[in-house]
Symmetry: C2
Subunit: 285 residues, 2 copies
């Protein structure tokens, strides 16, 4: 896979990556479907990678490929796959960064990552995208404070979807208030209203994404974000290599921990030091 | 900190660790408060470590120490702290495993970890505890499928709290059905009804936790779970040491990636190999 990625990285041109996140039931998939349609009208190839909340044990994707995105099912210019949060795409153990680079090299732009935005996953979304769209439904203001704060921090564009339902204006006002209290880094996240089901307001979301991207490019924030992404991916890969090499020693030492002969932290230091001085060899070398 | 942990690990006696998880609004904190009371009646010192959904950026805890657990605020036999999901406890950069070992050495038992159970956090709960109690509110059956499945997989004991509200019986029936479809490993997770606000049903939860622990000890599952925990902690610590040592090189290489001179995966391999042959030295050595 190394050479494939190397070649893909050389061919990739920095396609825009959009993150779509928000609480369950906010209509993220429908909005994503609409955005797909809007970008397709420009004749571009577009990719959607949906990160489903997957089983921590099977590593499998519970929902499978997004059957809900039926309107683009037969379109060869659209790539739609779901990816488990454990980093598996269609049986392939790939990181979101790898997937994005491969899609970029194939000419897909934008690349949309859709994720259920609760807990850790928002962090993952922002780490892999340039522009994060937070989608909420009316009634958002009633959620617990902490969840709201997490979403507020990652959003570059806010969307109150299902705006034909009661409470939409109130949710938008809550968001506006929170945005105005947040830190200002040159870009003030807009709060938009959509009815994804009918397509209402979707063009405004497309415009806001474009404007955010232009603003990021101008201020240098885009470069910083992408550099941080490169750093994170290198570190992640080093971790994986280290885990592979130290695996047998970790198993051995965990038995010693169970026997009370050592503790996990002393064990880690011993393994680490012996590994650095060439005491452990990767299996197969 | 190394010696402190080493000594604590030697003194720790394998105190029972209980995980309390479930969707926001299910009344986890109130139930935890009740469990605290029940264990305190036995004269034991009890600890609660609450993992709050914290800002991914500040690393800080939004809710602060649990003011809601007011009924035990002045009790010296009770230790209550909140810990951010990024692994910080009161400004200390400690892992849950470290915290549990330190509390264990101080004679706290059980040690209760309370977490908002959505996404990754269930996985973290199960990784650090012996018995996981999943708490839901009536109406649980209406949640999205994926979230339910995630909770079902981690639960050793299920509790429908707020059972004086409509829908409790239906939620319990849904859970019973899901439990019966799940894998059987010798322990069939019970589904209990509680009204934590009044204390109703709390003794049954205490009993179920004890029974699960006995069953785990008998079958050898407790040992396996704890061994896996030791392995995970060793690996986590090795990762941290590796990250520390390779940090300057990662920063350097990420610039090269931005300049198009390499890709993240080739960079990781180069850093890793040079690190293994002694090309990189930890700072300060």
């Amino acid at each position: 896979m190394g050479q494939l990625l190397e070649r893909a990285h050389a061919r990739a041109t920095g396609a825009l990556r959009i993150g779509i996140t928000g609480p369950p039931g906010s209509g993220k998939s429908t909005l994503t479907d609409r955005l797909l349609g809007a970008y397709r009208r420009d004749g571009r190839r577009v990719a959607v990678v949906a990160t489903d909340p997957s089983s921590p044990y099977s590593g499998g994707s519970l929902l499978g490929d997004r059957v809900r995105m039926g309107s683009h099912a037969g379109d060869p210019g659209v790539f739609i796959r779901s990816m488990s949060t454990r980093g598996r795409l269609g049986g392939l153990n790939a990181s979101a960064e790898m997937v994005a680079v491969l899609l970029d090299a194939e000419g897909y732009r934008p690349i949309i990552f859709e994720t259920v935005g609760v807990g850790q996953s928002e962090v993952e979304v922002i780490d892999r995208t340039d522009t994060v769209v937070v989608v909420v439904a009316p009634g958002f203001g009633d959620d617990i404070q902490a969840e709201k704060a997490g979403l507020m921090e990652v959003g570059d564009v806010f969307v109150v979807n299902k705006a034909d339902n009661p409470g939409a204006t109130r949710a938008a006002r809550t968001l506006e208030n929170m945005v105005s209290m947040g830190p200002s880094h040159g870009w003030r996240p807009p709060v938009l209203l959509t009815v994804a089901k009918t397509g209402e307001g979707v063009d405004e979301v497309v415009d806001a994404i474009r404007l955010h991207n232009e603003s990021m490019a101008e201020s240098g924030a885009l470069r910083s974000r992408r550099r941080a992404r490169a750093e994170a991916e290198i570190s992640r890969m080093i971790e994986r290599l280290a885990a592979q090499v130290t695996e047998p020693a970790v198993a051995r030492y965990s038995e010693a921990v169970m026997a009370g002969a050592t503790d996990p932290w002393s064990a880690a230091e011993e393994i680490f030091n012996s590994f650095r001085t060439g005491g452990h060899r990767p299996r197969g070398q």
